[in-house]
C-alpha cells in the first residue's frame, strides 16, 4: 500500500495540533474551528480510504486466496534502538482491527470536531476561552489515538498510549480554572499512569523473553487446528511457544512468566479502559467538555484497553489463565458499573458508568473467546461491540452535551420533560438508548447478542451474569431517558430562553450518528474482523448478521431488555413515588450504589493517608532530619570538638610546655611499646 495516505492520517492531526497550538491564538475562533474540523475531515477521508481499501479492494496483500485477511505493515521507521534485536519502530500496521479502529476514531473525532463548533460557545454565540487550544488538543488526541491503533509494535503502542493519556489529561482539565476539573484530570492521569506501570513491566517481561516488540512476531502463533495465521512460518511460532513453555525460570509465584506478562499488560488496559478497581478516574473525567467525553471517554480512548487485549489476543490464547482473569475483572466491573449507573443523578456520570459497563462487556467477550467456539466468536463480538458502542455512546454523549448546553446543568433534575422542546435530541437520544439496550434492530442488539452467545458458549454462569447486566443496562438507560424527557413537564422560567434544539453543527453529528446506530448492526463483522483473519461466513449480504443469529440467546436477551425497559417506564415515565419507595426499601444498597461503593474514599485513604501520610512525609522527614541531620552533625561535631579542645590553648606558657612534654614522652613511649 502506498504510504502517502497513512502518513497523512498520522501527520495531519499532529500538524494541526502544532499549528493550532502555536498559532491558534493569533487566529479567530471560527477559523480555528474550521481549520480543525477540515483537518479532521481530510483525515477522515484518508482513513476511510485506507480502511475500505483494506477490507474491500481484494488486494492480495490484504487478503489471500482463502479469504483470510492479512496483516500489512505499511511503513516501519526505526525510532530508537535499544539493543540489536529490541528496536522501537514507529510504523503503520493495517489489519482488520486497526482498519476498523481507524474508521471509528476518525468518524467520532470528526463528529466531535464538527459538534464542538456549536458546543463550545454559549447561547449568545460567544466562543469559549481557549477555543483554539481545545481544537489543538483534540487534534493531538486524534493523532495519538490513531498512532496507537496503527502501532506495529507494543512499544509504539505504549508511546501513543502515554500520549493519549496526556491528551486526555489536557482535555479533562480544559476548564483549568475549575479545581474539580484540575483534580479530575490529575486523577485520570495518575491512575492510568499507575496502570501503565504494569503495562510497562509487562512489555519488559514479554520483550525480554520474546526478544522483540513487534506484534507480527509476538502474535503469529500457530494454534493447533488452525493453519493460516497471518502467514508466519510455523518455526518462528514454535520458537515463541518453546521460549515460554520450556524456560526453566518461567514461573514466578505460581504463574508462568507469560501469564504475568499478560496480566501486567492487561493491567494497563484496565487503567485505560476503566476496569475495576482502576475505574475511578472515568466518572470524574466527565469534568471535561462533553464532546471530549464523547470522543475520549466513550468511544475511543477507553476502548484502548480492549484493543490492546485484542491486539495481543493470540498471546492471551496461549495462557488462558490470563483470559480467565480478564473475564472475572470484566464481569465484576460490568455489574458494578451498571448498579451504580442506576442511581446517579448527573447524566454524564450515568453515561460514564454505562461506558464502563459496556467496555467490561467487551472485555468479558474477549475473555471468553476461544478458537474452539465459533472460531473465536467472542473476539469478533467484542470488536463488533466496540464499533457499535462507539457510535451509539458517542451519540448519547453528544445528546447529553446538547441537553447540557441547552439547560446549563448536568443533573436530570433540572431537565425533566424536555421532549417537546428538543425533539431532535429526543429522538436521537431514544435511538441511542434503544441501541444500547439491545433492541432489535438497533446496533447494540447484534453486538451484545454475539457477546452473550460467546459467553454462553464459554460458561453458563457468565452468560446469566452478563444477561443480568444487559437487563440492568436497559433499565438505567431508560431510567435516564424517561427522567430527562418525561417524568414531568419542564418548567420554563423565561420564554425567551426556553430550551431549544441546537445549531446545525451540533445537530448534524447527532443525526448522522443516530442513523449509524440504527444500521451499524448489520455490518457483517464476522467476515471483516476475526481473531485470525479467517472469515466466519461463507457469503455476505445485508442480512448476514440476522441470519446467523443464535435465536435462543437473542430471544432471552430481547425479553430481558424489554422487561427492563418496561420497569423503567413504569417507574420513571411519570412522576411517582416508586423510585423513592425503592430507595427506602434498600437504603444500604442505594447508598452504596450512589456513593459508587466508596471507591473514591478508599483511594483517597490510600493516597493521602498511606502514600502521603505514611510514606512521603516520613521520607521527607527522614531526609531532612536523619540524613541531612547526619551530614550537619559532622559539621556540628567538628565545631563541638573545636570548642572542647580549646582548653589546650590556655594562654599559659606552663601548660604549653607541660603538654609539649607529655606529648613528646607519649610519642616516644607509645612508639617504644609498640615496636619493642
Amino acid at each position: 500500500m502506498d504510504v502517502t495516505l497513512p502518513i497523512i492520517i498520522l501527520a495531519l492531526p499532529l500538524f494541526m495540533f502544532l499549528f493550532l497550538g502555536l498559532l491558534g491564538k493569533y487566529m479567530s475562533h471560527r477559523l480555528a474551528g474550521i481549520l480543525g474540523t477540515a483537518g479532521m475531515g481530510i483525515t477522515l477521508i484518508c482513513a476511510y480510504t485506507v480502511a475500505f481499501t483494506y477490507f474491500f479492494s481484494g488486494n492480495p496483500d490484504f487478503i489471500n486466496a482463502e479469504g483470510e485477511r492479512l496483516q500489512q505493515i505499511v511503513f516501519n521507521v526505526t525510532w530508537l534502538q535499544f539493543t540489536p534485536s529490541l528496536v522501537l519502530r514507529l510504523g503503520f500496521l493495517i489489519d482488520p482491527i486497526s482498519s476498523m479502529m481507524l474508521v471509528v476514531i476518525t468518524t467520532i473525532s470528526f463528529m466531535v470536531h464538527l459538534y464542538s463548533n456549536g458546543y463550545m460557545r454559549d447561547h449568545h454565540g460567544v466562543w469559549e476561552k481557549g477555543f483554539q487550544r481545545f481544537y489543538a488538543f483534540l487534534s493531538l488526541f486524534s493523532f495519538s489515538m490513531l498512532g496507537l491503533v496503527v502501532a506495529t509494535n507494543i512499544f509504539q503502542m505504549y508511546i501513543f498510549w502515554e500520549l493519549v493519556g496526556a491528551s486526555s489529561y489536557l482535555l479533562i482539565g480544559f476548564y483549568y480554572t475549575k479545581p474539580s476539573a484540575v483534580s479530575a484530570s490529575k486523577k485520570a492521569f495518575i491512575v492510568t499512569r499507575f496502570a501503565d506501570l504494569g503495562f510497562l513491566i509487562g512489555i519488559l517481561i514479554l520483550s525480554f523473553y520474546a526478544g522483540t516488540f513487534d506484534f507480527t512476531h509476538l502474535t503469529s502463533v500457530a494454534v493447533e487446528g488452525l493453519n493460516h495465521v497471518y502467514q508466519v512460518s510455523e518455526g518462528t511460532a514454535q520458537n515463541i511457544l518453546s521460549i515460554f513453555a520450556n524456560n526453566p525460570a518461567s514461573t514466578f509465584m505460581g504463574a508462568s512468566v507469560l501469564t504475568w506478562a499478560l496480566v501486567l499488560i492487561f493491567m494497563g488496559g484496565m487503567g485505560k479502559s476503566a476496569m475495576m478497581p482502576l475505574h475511578i478516574w472515568l466518572p470524574d473525567a466527565m469534568e471535561g467538555p462533553t464532546p471530549v467525553s464523547a470522543l475520549i471517554h466513550a468511544a475511543t480512548m477507553v476502548v484502548a484497553g480492549v484493543y490492546l487485549v485484542a491486539r495481543l489476543f493470540p498471546l492471551y490464547l496461549m495462557e488462558t489463565a490470563a483470559l480467565d482473569i480478564i473475564v472475572v475483572v470484566g464481569a465484576l466491573t460490568a455489574f458494578y458499573a451498571a448498579m451504580v449507573a442506576c442511581v446517579q443523578v448527573d447524566i454524564k456520570r450515568v453515561l460514564a458508568f454505562s461506558t464502563i459497563s459496556q467496555i467490561a462487556f467487551m472485555m468479558v467477550s474477549l475473555g471468553v473467546a476461544r478458537p474452539e467456539f465459533h472460531h473465536g466468536l467472542g473476539y469478533m463480538a467484542s470488536m463488533f461491540h466496540l464499533f457499535t458502542h462507539a457510535m451509539f455512546k458517542a451519540l448519547l454523549f453528544l445528546c447529553a452535551g446538547a441537553l447540557i448546553h441547552a439547560i446549563g446543568s448536568n443533573d436530570y433534575t433540572a431537565m425533566h420533560g424536555l421532549r417537546k422542546y428538543m425533539p431532535i435530541t429526543h429522538v436521537t437520544f431514544l435511538i441511542g438508548c434503544l441501541a444500547i439496550a439491545g433492541i432489535i434492530p438497533f446496533a447494540g442488539f447484534f453486538s451484545k447478542d454475539e457477546i452473550l452467545t460467546a459467553c454462553f458458549g464459554h460458561s453458563i454462569f457468565w452468560y446469566i451474569w452478563m444477561s443480568c447486566v444487559a437487563g440492568l443496562t436497559a433499565f438505567y438507560m431508560f431510567r435516564l431517558y424517561f427522567l430527562i424527557f418525561w417524568w414531568k413537564e419542564h418548567k420554563v422560567h423565561d420564554p425567551h430562553h426556553a430550551p431549544h434544539d441546537q445549531p446545525w453543527t451540533m445537530t448534524l453529528p447527532l443525526v448522522i450518528l443516530a442513523v449509524v446506530s440504527c444500521f451499524a448492526g448489520f455490518v457483517p463483522f464476522g467476515n471483516l474482523v476475526t481473531w485470525n483473519g479467517h472469515p466466519m461466513f461463507e457469503s455476505v449480504s445485508f442480512l448476514t448478521n440476522l441470519e446467523n443469529l443464535d435465536w435462543s440467546v437473542a430471544a432471552i436477551s430481547l425479553t430481558v431488555a424489554v422487561v427492563a425497559i418496561l420497569i423503567a417506564m413504569k417507574m420513571y415515565k411519570t412522576e411517582n413515588e416508586l423510585p423513592a419507595k425503592m430507595r427506602n426499601a434498600l437504603p444500604a444498597l442505594w447508598d452504596w450504589c450512589y456513593h459508587r461503593f466508596y471507591w473514591d474514599e478508599l483511594y483517597m485513604f490510600i493516597t493521602h493517608r498511606i502514600i502521603f501520610g505514611l510514606v512521603c512525609k516520613p521520607i521527607a522527614w527522614f531526609d531532612r532530619h536523619i540524613i541531612d541531620g547526619t551530614m550537619d552533625s559532622f559539621a556540628t561535631l567538628t565545631n563541638k570538638a573545636s570548642w572542647s579542645i580549646r582548653g589546650l590553648q590556655s594562654g599559659n606558657v606552663q601548660t604549653y610546655v607541660w603538654i609539649y612534654l607529655i606529648g613528646v614522652i607519649l610519642l616516644g613511649s607509645i612508639t617504644a611499646i609498640c615496636l619493642i
Binding site: W658, L661, I662, G668, S669, A672
Partner: protein
C-alpha cells in the same frame, strides 16, 4: 675501682646537685633560687673536674656562675617589688609539675636502662684534653674539629646582642 676519695667527692657532688636543684625550684624566694642555682652550677663544674674536663669546668664556672647568675641576680633586683619576694604555688600546678617531672624521669630512666650494659661501663682511661688539643679542635676543620660551629656561634651571639639591644632600648 675508684678511690675512696673520689667516691666521697662524688657523693658530695651528687647530693649537692640533687638538693640544690630541688631547692632552686621549690624555694619561695626568688633570690635564694638564684643562689641555689649557683650552687648547682658549681656542683656541675665539680663533676666536669672530676671527669677530667678541667677546661670545661673552668668555662662552666666563668660563664655560668660568673656571668649568668649575676645576670639573674640583677634582673631579680630589677623586677622585684619590695616586700613581694615570695610566691605561692597553686596545688594544681604543683600536681602538674610533679606529674611532668615524674613522667620525664620515668621515661628517661626507662630509656637509659634499656641500655643497661652501657650504663654499667666503668670509666676508661683518658688523657686530659689539654689546651693544645682544645684549641686545635676549636680552630680546625677536620673531623671532630669545630671551626665552623665556632664561627656560627659568634654570629648567633652577635644576633643575640642586636636582639638584646633592640629589646632593651626604650621606646
Amino acid at each position: 675501682m675508684e678511690s675512696v676519695g673520689s667516691i666521697i667527692m662524688y657523693v658530695i657532688i651528687a647530693l649537692a646537685i640533687v638538693i640544690f636543684s630541688i631547692l632552686a625550684v621549690t624555694t619561695r624566694k626568688i633570690l635564694r633560687a638564684a643562689t641555689y642555682l649557683l650552687f648547682t652550677l658549681f656542683a656541675t663544674a665539680a663533676i666536669y673536674f672530676q671527669l677530667d674536663y678541667e677546661f670545661l669546668g673552668a668555662v662552666q664556672i666563668a660563664v655560668y656562675a660568673g656571668g649568668i647568675v649575676v645576670l639573674f641576680v640583677f634582673s631579680i633586683l630589677l623586677t622585684s617589688h619590695p616586700g613581694d619576694n615570695s610566691e605561692k604555688l597553686a596545688s594544681k600546678s604543683k600536681k602538674m609539675g610533679l606529674v611532668g617531672a615524674a613522667v620525664m624521669f620515668i621515661a628517661a630512666a626507662w630509656s637509659l636502662f634499656s641500655r643497661c650494659e652501657m650504663l654499667m661501663t666503668s670509666r676508661p682511661e683518658m688523657s686530659n684534653p689539654d689546651m693544645q688539643r682544645v684549641g686545635e679542635a676549636l680552630m680546625g676543620t677536620a673531623h671532630y674539629q669545630y671551626l665552623l660551629p665556632f664561627e656560627a656561634v659568634s654570629v648567633l651571639l652577635l644576633a643575640c646582642i642586636i636582639g638584646g639591644v633592640v629589646i632593651a632600648r626604650k621606646r
